[in-house]
């Protein structure tokens, strides 16, 4: 998958590239809107990550122009301006998603995965872990014919860990994903433990859950299985 990162902050662009390359995406970087537009007119991209505060012209204008040349790409707006109007205008102009800075790279990746799932249909929607089957579209966890009932937050947590399999996720990263902007403090992060405990309890009634590991002092990880 090809990704264009349009971000004037060089260090941030480099970190995003670093992260996405590890997740096997091919990345191009432009630091200005003009450079970005040039690349979009020449190359085809699957994703365009677009900062709104660019030095030469407004990111929303770039979004408008870029969509003419590359209508199939998925556009994700990254902005630190935090103006609610920007969000609405961006989505109106055809952006697929919107992430407010500072965002977690994991969150970015899971949004990209979600867009992929929407675009390419069922292919990627059913994941298996241990003896369990997780259907992201129907939002159910199954073992054989048994359906295991998880709460909304528990399901979100499990699927987030599953999508970032084999990566240690911190309590903060998890709580940011679950509670978003409403997160107030460490109290919320500690609550992740309660949810994980519940998930383990519910799933272990049907099968083994030793793939869901606690990483002492850090957080949780779903171990990749061979």
């Amino acid at each position: 998958m090809k990704v264009l990162i349009v971000e004037d902050e060089k260090m941030l662009a480099a970190e995003i590239e670093n992260f996405l390359r590890r997740a096997h995406y091919l990345c191009d970087i432009s630091h200005t809107a003009n450079e970005g537009l040039d690349k979009i007119t020449i190359n085809m991209y699957d994703f365009v990550l677009l900062d709104l505060g660019l030095p030469d012209f407004d990111g929303l204008q770039l979004l408008k122009d870029a969509r003419k040349h590359n209508p199939d790409a998925a556009y994700i707006i990254l902005t630190a301006r935090g103006d609610t109007d920007d969000r609405i205008r961006g989505l109106d102009l055809g952006a697929d998603d919107y992430l407010a800075k500072p965002f977690s790279l994991l969150e970015l990746q899971s949004r990209m995965q979600a867009i992929n799932r929407r675009k390419f249909g069922l292919k990627d929607q059913v994941l298996s872990i241990g003896d369990f089957i997780v259907d992201l579209k129907l939002r159910v966890v199954k073992l054989g014919i048994n359906e295991i009932e998880l709460s909304k937050k528990e399901f979100d947590l499990l699927s987030y860990l599953l999508l970032h399999r084999n990566r240690p996720l911190t309590r903060m990263q998890l709580s940011e994903h679950i509670w978003g902007n409403y997160v107030d403090d460490d109290y919320d992060s500690n609550f992740i433990d309660v949810h994980i405990k519940n998930i383990r309890k519910k799933l272990s009634a049907f099968g083994t859950v030793e793939w869901l590991e606690t990483i002492r002092g850090v957080g949780y990880k779903i171990r990749k299985q061979d």
Partner: protein
């Protein structure tokens, strides 16, 4: 009628000079009648003469009535003319003032987004007044825009470095050559950064609310809103074994409010009620119409309570009520206060240590 008037001139001896008007009775040619008499003593060649000119009182009263009538009519006419003139004044001459008041003072809500037009008038004073109003409003708008721009820029300038740090740490965390020891250190960094991020986010949110950068266009049913908040926090209540009773009028609507901000408001309050509650305690949320007709929502908990000395400070930024558990950034209630002020709502907090807290929100 005869003998209505008479004139008499006769010599008198009296040395008293008379010059007066009186009502008295006179006998004229055998008829006795009441006269209004003007008497005057005139001296000609050392001889006093009394001149009397009289008119019967009867005829005088006959004239008074029509005279009074005429006077009354004239008065009424004058009042009428004055009223018409007054109306003309207020309607026509003072019309620009009315327009100024209407277009500048009433029907105007901050921020003044629409075009501000000058009122047409030839009166110098009104023109000056109108101009001053427009200048003031433009000044306020400009200050508001600057503040908005500042918030937006500050937000950008603060969030970008935090963003870079966060991405760097996340990448470091995932690098294969990181040992467990280092991982824990990176985690400490991430935790500190996350705290910084939350503080900046909360401060920016407060300043956006104070700058009125949110719309007030939603109609919200408190009963639905609270249900959403409870749904979001359900698991925390269950974990602590809290009993939550909600009793709200199902059809009450809050008009012209911001749904997201109100959600945040009640989320923060209920979250606090959960957080500082004792295991197995309870939370009660009810509403009522107060004696003065205001709609009120009451949130009661059986938590640890707030010490009386700290009650006045709970809404101040960065003031924590001596509660160290959980390490909040101390901005939750400051956000609550700014959302309430934004909507023109009030809050009253009463609390008893280790018994619980009672919060009344007046809409």
């Amino acid at each position: 009628m005869l003998k209505e008037e008479y004139i008499a001139l006769e010599p008198v001896d009296s040395t008293v000079l008379i010059d007066t008007i009186t009502t008295s009775r006179r006998v004229i040619e055998r008829d006795t009648l009441d006269y209004r008499v003007l008497m005057y003593t005139h001296i000609i060649e050392k001889q006093n003469y009394l001149i009397e000119i009289g008119r019967t009182t009867e005829t005088i009263t006959q004239f008074i009535k029509p005279l009074q009538k005429v006077a009354l009519n004239v008065l009424v006419l004058l009042i009428g003319i004055t009223l018409v003139l007054d109306l003309f004044f207020t309607r026509f001459l003072l019309r620009p003032l009315g327009k100024i008041i209407k277009s500048k003072l009433q029907n105007r809500k901050f921020p003044f987004n629409e075009q501000i037009d000058a009122v047409k008038t030839t009166t110098e004073d009104f023109r000056l007044l109108d101009k001053s109003f427009i200048a003031l409003m433009e000044q306020i708008n400009e200050a508001f825009e600057k503040e908005r721009e500042f918030t937006s820029n500050a937000s950008h300038e603060l969030m970008t470095p935090i963003s870079i740090l966060q991405s760097k740490m996340e990448n470091m965390m995932m690098a294969e050559d990181v040992g467990e020891n280092q991982q824990e250190r990176i985690l400490e960094l991430m935790r500190t950064l996350s705290r910084l991020k939350k503080i900046v986010n909360a401060l920016l949110l407060i300043s956006r609310i104070e700058n009125e950068q949110f719309g007030k266009t939603n109609n919200v049913s408190p009963s639905n809103l609270i249900a959403e908040v409870i749904e979001e926090l359900k698991e925390r209540m269950e974990e602590k074994g809290l009993r939550c009773t909600v009793n709200l009028h199902p059809h009450h609507q809050l008009e012209g409010v911001n749904n997201d901000l109100l959600f945040q408001l009640f989320y923060n309050l209920v979250n606090n009620s959960i957080r500082y509650n004792k295991p197995g305690g309870s939370i009660t949320i009810v509403d009522r119409i107060a004696a003065d007709g205001r709609y009120e929502i009451i949130i009661r908990d059986t938590g640890s309570g707030i010490p009386p000395a700290e009650l006045p400070n709970i809404f101040n930024r960065f003031k924590k009520a001596g509660r160290t558990e959980g390490e909040g950034v101390g901005l939750g209630l400051a956000i609550v206060k700014s959302i309430l002020d934004f909507h023109g709502m009030t809050i009253q907090v009463s609390s008893r240590l280790s018994e619980g807290t009672n919060i009344v929100i007046g809409v």
